[in-house]
Symmetry: C2
DNA sequence: CTCAGTGCAAAGGATTTGCATGCCG
DNA sequence: CGGCATGCAAATCCTTTGCACTGAG
């Protein structure tokens, strides 16, 4: 999905949620598209310091409710946000235990499909209705070696 | 690993970290063994209300540092704690999006091994040193259907 | 004009910490 | 006895909210 398509989709989703696609919200979506992994509020404010923190928090929460962004928590004290999966590609996270930074990666389709199947089996055994899965790799990033 | 073995191992790890295995700490380890998934501070205090919150927080953090317990964050505002992986079995989590509860599950060895390999490939491609992985299934638990 | 969106500053809530007391070694 | 562990209460810090103001339709 190109940047413009994401933009259009975001506009549609917000309209559907009776929300406007304001300048702040556009800039948030743009910031998230620019990052190569989920971003913290601090990182977003640093990248665009015309956005006050409260606006960032408030709008991210609205974008989350409209299913445009997803909120992620890792282990440190900072929530991170990324574009919702249907606006990107299914992917996973490399989480650096040292600096806390998070970047995206993907598995090959074969592995992903097999995993999906195994998870489905495990879920039904526990009478659990699975909606999605989340897979993180913990370790040390290239910069922190 | 039996409960007693866990206890012995915990004692050894604490000694190694120059920490005592006090009564509060024993009770925390016992509480975590009893649960069939990671527990929140609230759940722990509810299960053993002779433990003051501050002691629970403080000791869990010490136990975490001694590599006896692991701290987990899901999406809600409560951290959860479980026994470290080397004191249990490798497992994953079913996270209920409705009630927030977390329970354990495992994958068959075959799937787990293949996954491990695929992750290793992906990690080295990103010059990331992988230490462990974390796999959660999100959805609705049996009780919340 | 109206009303949602904005920005500041103050409030909220999980978690942490200071300090006096108690207890293990 | 000495020092770590404990428990209470106060402090922290990310996050949320109240309120008055601004701007788009």
């Amino acid at each position: 999905m190109t940047d413009n398509e994401v933009d259009d989709e975001a506009a549609a989703l917000l309209r559907q949620a009776d929300q406007r696609y304001t300048s702040s919200r556009r800039r948030l979506v743009a910031a998230l598209q620019a990052g190569n992994g989920p971003l913290t509020i601090t990182q977003i404010v640093a990248a665009d310091d015309t956005l006050p923190q409260s606006t960032v928090y408030r709008n991210l929460s609205i974008l989350e409710e409209a299913d445009i962004v997803t909120r992620i928590v890792t282990s440190d004290d900072f929530a991170r946000y990324e574009l919702a999966e249907h606006l990107t590609e299914h992917h996973h996270h490399l989480i650096c235990s040292n600096c806390g930074d998070v970047t995206d990666f993907s598995l090959d389709t074969r592995t992903e499909t097999n995993l999906e199947r195994a998870l489905q089996r495990a879920a039904s055994k526990a009478r659990f209705t699975a909606e999605s899965h989340r897979l993180d790799l913990l370790g040390t990033c290239a910069g922190c070696q």
